[in-house]
Subunit: 159 residues, 2 copies
């Protein structure tokens, strides 16, 4: 079988949503249930980083508060006014604003505290050996060699 | 000296333009003179990939027609209607459209053939040992260990 030719270009908002809504263990998945991620880079065969078109309905969170050990992240606001929660501040963003999260820097996530949808582009690389630290929740994650995230409690016991 | 704290978030269009307008040798730099790149990821200490807010005035080209050997690229159209030139097609894009360019795939660049500015977000990773192939021009580039691009003619002689 040959791989299908990638498209030349697409309408980002019309890309297919990710099949698995969240990788989080059940106790945490509900917190991101108002989030819809549409992977974009994958559609073109891009592998060194991922790009998602991510919609947060009112009340939606982009993720748990977290920081990566090796992977960098970047977001750009396309629509709506998400609140960016970092270690030191809560900052309301507007369309056209962006933020970057260097590995090992401040923990972060976005919340939609408004009554209108938020849409962001989010970029993250795929550095091997990444670990994710969640300051506010009893969960930790490591990126396994097969590319899957392995979640445990902070004492190492599985969910 | 300590490094300044990165900002929490910024207005992308208000970021400082890149100091050096183009890395291209003089014979080719003119072709991208209507291009203005505002590096965004760097401002936040992101190093694994770069993100630029790039404006193409009417007549502007995003780059020479090119493909990378190791680095992936991705673009998202924020404003205007650039023409995406690939190996096989010319495709007019609109705001909200995106395209990805996997390493070793089709060569590509964008041209603004309209009378209005084009603004894109462009993402590229920083894989070491990258080489750039330009199918239409007598130039080639390799990424040196110091992170600088080294341009030569295709016969290896310097510009």
């Amino acid at each position: 079988m040959t791989k299908p030719e990638p498209p030349i270009a697409i309408e980002a908002a019309a890309a297919a949503p990710r099949k698995q809504a969240s990788n989080y263990p059940a106790p945490f998945a509900a917190r991101v249930s108002a989030r819809e991620k549409r992977p974009l880079g994958d559609l073109f065969g891009v592998t060194n980083f991922g790009v998602n078109h991510t919609r947060l309905a009112p009340g939606g969170h982009s993720a748990l508060q977290h920081r990566h050990s090796k992977q960098d992240e970047f977001i750009y606001v396309l629509e709506g006014e998400p609140t960016l929660v970092t270690d030191t501040a809560e900052t309301q963003l507007r369309p056209g604003m962006c933020a970057g999260f260097a590995a090992g820097g401040s923990a972060h996530h976005l919340e939609n505290r408004t009554s209108r949808d938020v849409v962001i582009l989010e970029v993250g690389d795929r550095s091997q050996g990444d670990e994710v630290f969640y300051p506010d929740d009893d969960v930790q994650a490591v990126l396994a060699d097969d590319g899957q995230w392995l979640f445990t409690r902070k004492n190492g016991t599985p969910y």
